[in-house]
Symmetry: C2
DNA sequence: CATAAATGATACCTATTTGTAGCATATTAT
DNA sequence: ATAATATGCTACAAATAGGTATCATTTATG
């Protein structure tokens, strides 16, 4: 009952960038966030491919946002890493509900999942304020 | 953002047993629930070891509840398969919060997780009613 | 121009989860 | 007794996620 590490790393990186704003290299982010460097490289590349950030190569290269922080929602990020389909799935693992939606988990779990989705869809990176360090 | 398959299988098995009540063999449950037979065997054994059900060996053996269905909560089942620690964790994957709990996800995510926990802890197998088939 | 510092791409290794197979043991029915 | 039908146990295989390593390419700077 968790997001993948890749998703957490992504959220972590992007929220850090969102509060510091400049062009940042993988090496710098690695130092600040203690995410394993080679893996972080892959994560950053895939965040670039997803369009949240873009990279510039060469000596003073790095990564910077491609979009407004207020236009990047947590749901977008999770969607790009883990996908969100799981939040539409039955807790019992059924593809289609064999109980005709009559099992009591159906409703209560649906509400819980909708609550999570609502949070993820309404929280953007610009909402993730932190005290600068 | 999901429970493991093992957890879903376990919930599925126990909720089926809860609505049919008799001693059931792995072979029978496999037929009814389409969970891969050898894996289901392992799941049933581990549910036995966790004390939810017990087994009887031999020709007319199988599995049956060891406790009242009203005393088995979804949280207990998930705890025994996936563990519940993940529901106490930061969405960004931090061990301790580097933002002094000031990031806005902190509160909202904490509330969401508490909501899930509340559902899991308050729903027992006897609440999982389904129409018999 | 040469070097340093950055990303791009890709192949590989490791750990965990999911799934398979087979033999040993127990119990019931014939 | 013996055969059939159960579970117990355990080793193995496959798929996925997480993590490492390396070389190529790009660009700024002395």
């Amino acid at each position: 009952m968790n997001f993948s590490k890749t998703a957490s790393y992504s959220l972590n990186v992007l929220s850090y960038m969102a509060t510091h704003d400049n062009n940042m290299s993988a090496a710098f982010l690695h130092e600040k966030l203690s995410i394993p460097y080679p893996y972080l490289r892959q994560v950053l590349t895939s965040l670039s491919k997803s369009g949240f950030i873009h990279s510039t190569r060469g000596r003073s290269g790095g990564f910077a946002f491609s979009k407004q922080k207020s236009d990047i929602f947590l749901a977008d990020i999770i969607e790009s890493t883990d996908g969100l389909e799981s939040l539409n799935k039955c807790i019992l693992g059924f593809n289609s509900c064999p109980f005709n939606n009559e099992c009591s988990m159906h409703k209560v779990w649906e509400e819980t999942r909708n609550g999570i989705l609502k949070v993820l869809k309404s929280t953007s990176l610009s909402d993730l304020v932190r005290t600068p360090d």
